[in-house]
Structures are given as C-alpha cells and as structure tokens.
C-alpha cells in the first residue's frame, strides 16, 4: 500500500529509556505505533520511531477513538 511514512515493519533496535521515569525499555523487534507498558511507571508508551528507538507517552483517547 502506498504510504507516506516508511513501512513500519518489525525491526530490531537497541534499548531506550522510558521518557517519564527513565526505566530501560528493551529494544528487540519493534514497530512504529506499537504500544508498550513501562515496567517502571506502568505508563503506556508508543513507539514513534525506530533506528533509533523513540518512545512517547501514548496519547489519551482522541475525538472518536475506539469502541
């Protein structure tokens, strides 16, 4: 499918830190858009980039999201 962003296939990446509590987050096979739970502060983290791994706090529910 033609998309603007690079294909977010699984990629092996080095570890990174939780942006909220600095707890190390394991690297390994990650995908853009993947949601992780931080072992340190239980925050929901979203993978927003790989190589290098970039993490952000997953945004709260937006306009019409979800069921």
């Amino acid at each position: 499918m033609q998309v603007q962003n690079p294909n977010p296939m699984t990629q092996s990446v080095p570890p990174e830190q939780c942006p909220l509590c600095a707890q190390p987050v394991p690297g390994g096979n990650r995908m853009v858009g993947e949601v992780l739970s931080c072992d340190g502060c239980s925050a929901e983290l979203e993978v927003v980039g790989i190589n290098p791994l970039r993490l952000e706090e997953a945004p709260e529910v937006e306009e019409d999201w979800g069921e």
């Binding site: 499918m1 033609q2 998309v3 603007q4 962003n5 294909n7 977010p8 296939m9 995908m31 853009v32 858009g33 993947e34 949601v35 979203e46 993978v47 997953a58 529910v61 937006e62 306009e63 019409d64 999201w65 979800g66 069921e67």
Partner: protein, 281 residues
C-alpha cells in the same frame, strides 16, 4: 498464500496477537499505519493485498479508508457499510429496527424542547448517549426532569451540528451485568461483564467473566451482525430482570485484550481463520 494489509492506529495487544495469528497461517501481512495513508480517488490498485483488516481506532479514519479501499476493489473487514452503521449508535438502532431485531426502545431528537417533551411522554428513567463515541463516555441516566434539563442543555448548547443529536433509550434495569457475544462469521463465544455501576464497560472497571452463550443469545447476536453486515463484530446484549434479551450496541473493531483470558475464546485465531477462509457476509 493470502496477502493481508493490517491497517492500524497503534499496535496494541490486539494487533500483535492478530498479526501473529495471521503469520501462523502463512499470510503475508503488511502493516500500514492509518495516519500515513493517502488514497487517490481512482480505481488504481495500490496494494498487493487482496484483503484489508481494518483496525484503525478512529471511526472517522476507518470509515473513509474502508470506503476508498473498497472502491479500489479490496475486501475490507469489516466493510465500510458495517463501520458506518456500527460507529453511529442512531444508525445502528435504525439497522436493527429495520430487521426487527429486539432492542430497547429508542428515539433520536434534534432540539432540546422536542427531546424533553418526548422524554416526559415516555417517563423516567431514560438513558441518553452521544451517537458517536465509545467506552461508555457521556452516557447518562436521567431520573428526573431536572436531570434531563441539565444534560440536554449541555448536549444541545455545546459542540457542533453533529453533537446536537440526542439518542434516547429505554433504561433497562439489568441484573448487575451485561453480555457481549463475539460474532466472527457466526457466534463464537462471549463474555459477561459484571459491575456495581450501571454502565458496564471493562474500560470503566467492569469485571469480565466467562459465559457460555445460550443458543437464543447466539441467534440474536448473529441477527444483529447480519443487520449491519458485520463479518467480525462484538454484540452487546442487555438482559432485563424479567428475562427479556435485547441488542444494545454493536462494535466493529473488536477489542479483547482485557478479557481474552477470562473468555477462553481464541479470538485472534478465529479472526485469522475467517480472513484466510475468504468468507464475506
């Protein structure tokens, strides 16, 4: 080998499990994030895939994407029609009513005074909910005229035209739980959600537990799925204390991460089997 595009907003537990289940069935799965998609208005084929599993968390995006992907000749699950009907609770009610599927009585109103007058005729309590929206947000039970005036003045006094629609529904005095039946082509299992609060959403702290779906409930859920053309949906049922059973809502993007252990229903595998089968409601 089936080629599947999995369209997603975020790769949550659900999407990870679906991806694994599809790959175990030798599907070539291409992950596509919804925010990056640009679809031209022509019938040009834009993917190798034959099937799209629509897992966008946004109703707006899912509806448009499914519509345009179908226009380009793809099999989209769920279909654009199903997403459009299930994503809008007033349209869900209309689709159910058209097929005579049992549901709580309901009406829509577009004006504060007209709505209040109609509620007064029916009598309290009633439930109002936004036609769009989810996880039990902004669902209100109105026990009195005072409460109704307060809620309706907010409903009609804020937001835009799309917000100025009140869906009013019979308040069903349910016995401390509600029921969810998963329909993946056919009814495949279910979940009972128990709560002290009358809004029984697992997102709002309701406790999921196992429930063996009786034949009558399975048939009702399948009729509801058929009314909206749903290939893979979660049908919420309400049981009255008198033992009547109604369809309340239908969810087109099935969430199961919080309840998969309790239900014992292997939803990712069932969904993947359905996709591989090539079936279409």
């Amino acid at each position: 080998m089936r080629k599947v595009d999995l369209v997603y907003t975020r790769v949550r537990t659900e999407e990870k499990l679906l991806l694994e289940a599809l790959r175990r069935r030798d599907c070539a799965v291409n992950l596509v994030q919804d925010s990056g998609m640009v679809l031209s208005m022509d019938r040009q084929r834009l993917t190798e895939a034959d099937t799209v599993l629509m897992r966008s968390m946004s109703f707006t995006r899912a509806r448009y994407l499914a519509t345009f992907l179908e226009m380009k000749g793809l099999r989209v699950l769920n279909s654009a029609r199903t997403i459009s009907l299930c994503g809008d609770k007033a349209l869900t009610s209309a689709a159910l009513a058209a097929r005579g599927v049992p549901m709580p009585w309901a009406f829509v109103a577009f004006d504060e005074d007209a709505c209040l007058e109609a509620i007064e005729k029916k009598g309290y309590p009633v439930v109002t909910k936004p036609v769009l929206g989810s996880w039990g947000r902004m669902v209100a039970r109105l026990d009195s005229r005072t409460a109704a005036e307060g809620v309706l003045s907010t409903r009609f006094g804020t937001g835009g035209a799309q917000d100025h629609v009140a869906l009013v529904q019979e308040y069903v005095d349910k016995p401390g739980y509600d029921l969810r039946v998963y329909v993946i082509g056919r009814a495949v299992g279910g979940l009972r959600r128990r709560s002290e609060h009358w809004v029984t959403n697992t997102a709002r702290g309701a406790v999921p537990e196992r429930y063996e779906v009786p034949v009558a409930h399975a048939k009702l859920a399948e009729a509801a799925a058929e009314a909206v053309g749903g290939d893979m949906v979660a049908v919420d049922l309400l049981e009255t204390r008198g033992g009547d059973i109604y369809v309340n809502e239908i969810n087109h993007c099935v969430e199961f991460a919080r309840s998969i252990e309790e239900t014992g229903v292997p939803l990712p595998d069932l969904i993947a089997d359905y996709i591989v089968s090539g079936a279409r409601r």
